[in-house]
Subunit: 210 residues, 3 copies
Amino acid sequence: MATAVANFAQLFNNAILTRASLPGKHGGNKGFRPCRHRQIAPHSPIDRSLKEYAMTTEIEERLAALGIELPSPGKPGANYVPFVVTGNLVFVSGQVPMAPDGVKFVGKVGKDFSMEEGQQAARLCAINILGMLKAAVGGDLDKIARIVKVVGFVNAVPDFTDVHKVINGASDLITDVLGDHVGKHSRSAIGMGTLPLGVAVEVEAVAEIL
Amino acid sequence: MATAVANFAQLFNNAILTRASLPGKHGGNKGFRPCRHRQIAPHSPIDRSLKEYAMTTEIEERLAALGIELPSPGKPGANYVPFVVTGNLVFVSGQVPMAPDGVKFVGKVGKDFSMEEGQQAARLCAINILGMLKAAVGGDLDKIARIVKVVGFVNAVPDFTDVHKVINGASDLITDVLGDHVGKHSRSAIGMGTLPLGVAVEVEAVAEIL
Amino acid sequence: MATAVANFAQLFNNAILTRASLPGKHGGNKGFRPCRHRQIAPHSPIDRSLKEYAMTTEIEERLAALGIELPSPGKPGANYVPFVVTGNLVFVSGQVPMAPDGVKFVGKVGKDFSMEEGQQAARLCAINILGMLKAAVGGDLDKIARIVKVVGFVNAVPDFTDVHKVINGASDLITDVLGDHVGKHSRSAIGMGTLPLGVAVEVEAVAEIL
């Protein structure tokens, strides 16, 4: 039975990968992601397990294809926490470009880093945002209903004006992983005088969860 | 019948314009805006249509009197959207001083622009905030229940200290258009190192909608 | 009867003060704060009045022990308000280091003020945040269910990198007063180009209330 499930899931994934290359990939067949909302009952327990497997795999497969492993929240270094859930909203603390082996991108965009490097810093912040969100939903990324808001802070020299392009590095990563429907967010991109640890970018987010 | 409605609405509007010139204009007669909340049943279908017409007209008339035409959301230039609705909250993306013929107020307050010019930039950002909110409520501005929060970002030189006065340009516009009861908001005004496109001001908002 | 209540409350308070000096002070005895959530029925009216007295006193005692008197919201100086309540969320306006006798800490961290002085400025901002929240819940600080989010803005020179340590001054005060369970929040700490009135720190917050 496990094999049958895996085979079905494989078919689902192939379909997903094919569909992912088409424009408007999520709009065409609403039945394809049928249990996004809890109130929609699946047809049978087997049906449900197949679909849940496929759904989870969809986002996890995208992460794997991008070579991304989401971090878990670390020990808080002060009197705050990585995220707070209130109702069905999650407020995620500002994330810096922290990698498993330490902080990256220390310096200012427009002096120490190019716009493209700033985008990579923003992308790393966004990976950390997704890691915190994964923890907030107990590990099931399909319980992220919508990224509501992203604020991107760019530590830049005063005459740097491509602040929004830097934050596209975060917006692109979030949308690539979660898809347009869930991932596209409202956003503010702003240029800072400085940031904690002197990092080039910091990103915070609000998300709606199921 | 349409004529009768229009005539009644005209009377309503005249009354509104008269009242609008008085201090404390919304506090005096609670009965004047009786169907702000959905649970209050109107007395009859005709009564309702009159009141709804009048309410819509009240805000639209103020916009017309101020010579303001609210913009519609443009095509998003990246993987984000102008606003996201979650529950009865709308999170509006940071708005820059974009006019129909292009971006305005490129430069820094305290160097390229005076405080008063910064206020004009903030006012233009706020007009764009209202445009996004109008789209979020399907065109009916009376469905904006409350402006919950405004954050105003001022691209200023480091020794500029009238950051809050610049953002008054946004707060005043919002309150002038929506009235004190709906328009007055919690607020943060902060001075930035830089902003997207080098604009002088950016404004974001959260609103509660019906 | 009032005397008996006061005596019991005194015992409660002594217990609280003893417990407050221990690590992990709120984790040990869940029964000690039994009516945080309204749905938990107390055993009797007398029991309830004792507990409510004790709970209110717990936070107020901590404030007294810290020598803190929370301010009331002042008259708004422009078209905004100190806070807006929407649903069970309160959005508090950015608070500057305003003391009863005027604004303090005017200048930049890293030039005019040390990191430690910046922390004192952040602490004063946080006291003002708690004052606004107290007003938002009608004076009963036990109706603050959770500090959801804090954003700390530090007016610093461009090469100052201890932005997060400055904002610890706000996070520590909030947690010291409200306790870990209610007080610990999601957070962003960011370095600004400038701030209103030229103050060193500004802090805004979102809280969930009962």
